[in-house]
């Protein structure tokens, strides 16, 4: 069984997630970040207007995600023939060539996980704003954090760039609408990560409980 460390909390201590050192948190001005005195890990930050900004960016990310997955990513033209590809046709292409496992992996890290992370962020923040009850919001917010290493959109975009150069000598390749939506999506995702203050969300969810 676990209970909240009442003694530690009344002393106002925090533990570093990377090295477990207990330390007293300092008051921060907006835009400042606190680091662990022993291992240098980032402990917490204070961000301005964090919830509204992140909510707006997550909404923008969801729209860009739809464009990025529905429109053609690249078009190849060679000797009068042309071939379009979307992100999903990258997945089905691998499956067709007998690489089902690899197709599943690419689908997970380039479509499903990025979608779940955007949707989970929207879900958690919207519930925090609108509705009481924290169970589901806490679940979403915890999983956004856990899935973080497995969302690989920015790597996919760079891979598109590598493919563009590799085929540049042989064929004509044009980036499609999805390519540009991807660029914007990665910027918006990075901005959402920068404006999000997880400690603030957790404190908010705690009060609701």
């Amino acid at each position: 069984m676990l209970t909240r460390g009442a003694a530690a909390r009344s002393n106002g201590l925090v533990a570093c997630p990377d090295c477990d050192l207990l330390q007293r948190p300092a008051a921060l001005a907006a835009g400042e970040a606190a680091r662990c005195g022993r291992c240098g890990a980032r402990l917490y930050e204070r961000k301005e207007n964090s919830l509204s900004r992140t909510l707006a960016l997550a909404l923008a990310a969801l729209i860009l995600f739809a464009i990025a997955n529905l429109c053609p990513f690249m078009t190849l033209s060679l000797e009068g023939r042309s071939q379009e590809c979307t992100i999903f046709s990258g997945v089905t292409g691998l499956a067709r060539e007998g690489m089902g496992t690899l197709a599943l992996l690419v689908f997970l890290v380039s479509v499903l996980v990025p979608f779940l992370r955007i949707a989970g962020l929207l879900h958690a923040l919207a519930l925090l704003r609108l509705a009481p009850g924290r169970g589901r919001a806490a679940f979403s917010f915890r999983w956004i954090h856990a899935l973080r290493p497995w969302g690989m959109l920015e790597i996919l975009l760079l891979a598109g760039l590598v493919a563009l150069v590799k085929l540049g000598d042989v064929a004509r390749i044009e980036p499609g609408a999805a390519f540009w939506a991807f660029c914007a999506l990665i910027l918006v995702n990075a901005a959402a990560a920068a404006t999000l203050d997880p400690a603030l969300v957790w404190r908010g969810l705690e009060r609701r409980g």
């Binding site: 069984m1 050192l21 890990a41 691998l94 060539e97 891979a159 598109g160 150069v165």
Partner: protein
């Protein structure tokens, strides 16, 4: 160590890795799982069997690293020319084509990052097992670096996926995925799980037990 530099575990406290809440550990009944009351994540003072799990996943990754580099990741048939590319020959080809910045990027993602994960994590595990007190801050920084760059080795897998989807014009131009791509993806997944299994707090534990 002074009383000031005490870890949470030493004082019977657990820091939830998912939400950062500080919890008081109580003895558990057999089979009961400890959960953080705020976020619902499993909460433990240290990841269970961290060293053994990390070794197991790391050795898996190291074994798969051999076929990943020996077998071709793709076969291409462009304008009647058939060629096979392994991870390394892909980098060399980009260099020959005077695409130095891109070659450097692929070299970093496909060769430097996997080796950094295999060697770096092995080094961290050995140092933790030997209860080393050498440069803990540097080792913590190495682990954070591995955590951040680890996912980038997926780059070549995405390149293969895009090329296979894009280049399928029958006899004119076709690109097919190779067995090496599957092995390489398995290396990436195994080493990423190895990174997740490693508990960086172990680096600091040996420091605190010293007088």
């Amino acid at each position: 160590m002074s009383a000031k530099a005490a870890s949470a575990a030493r004082l019977g406290l657990i820091c939830c890795r998912a939400c950062g809440l500080l919890l008081r550990a109580r003895p558990l009944q057999a089979g009961a799982a400890a959960r953080c009351p705020r976020c619902g994540a499993g909460a433990r003072a240290r990841k269970p069997r961290s060293v053994a799990c990390t070794w197991a996943l790391l050795v898996t990754g190291a074994i798969l690293y051999v076929p990943a580099n020996v077998y071709p990741i793709m076969q291409s048939e462009l304008m009647g020319k058939t060629s096979e590319d392994t991870i390394i020959s892909g980098v060399l080809r980009l260099m020959e084509e005077d695409q130095a910045p891109l070659a450097l990027l692929v070299f970093f993602a496909s060769i430097v990052v996997p080796l950094l994960k295999l060697c770096g994590l092995s080094f961290l595990l050995v140092s933790v097992q030997r209860r080393s007190t050498w440069q803990p801050r540097g080792r913590a920084a190495l682990f954070r670096l591995i955590e951040i760059v680890g996912r980038w080795s997926m780059l070549d897998i995405f390149v293969v996926a895009i090329l296979v989807a894009l280049v399928r014009l029958g006899s004119v131009a076709t690109i097919l995925p190779g067995f090496g791509a599957l092995s390489f993806a398995a290396v990436v997944v195994a080493t990423m799980f190895a990174t997740l299994a490693f508990d960086p707090r172990l680096i600091w534990d040996s420091l605190e037990k010293k007088p």
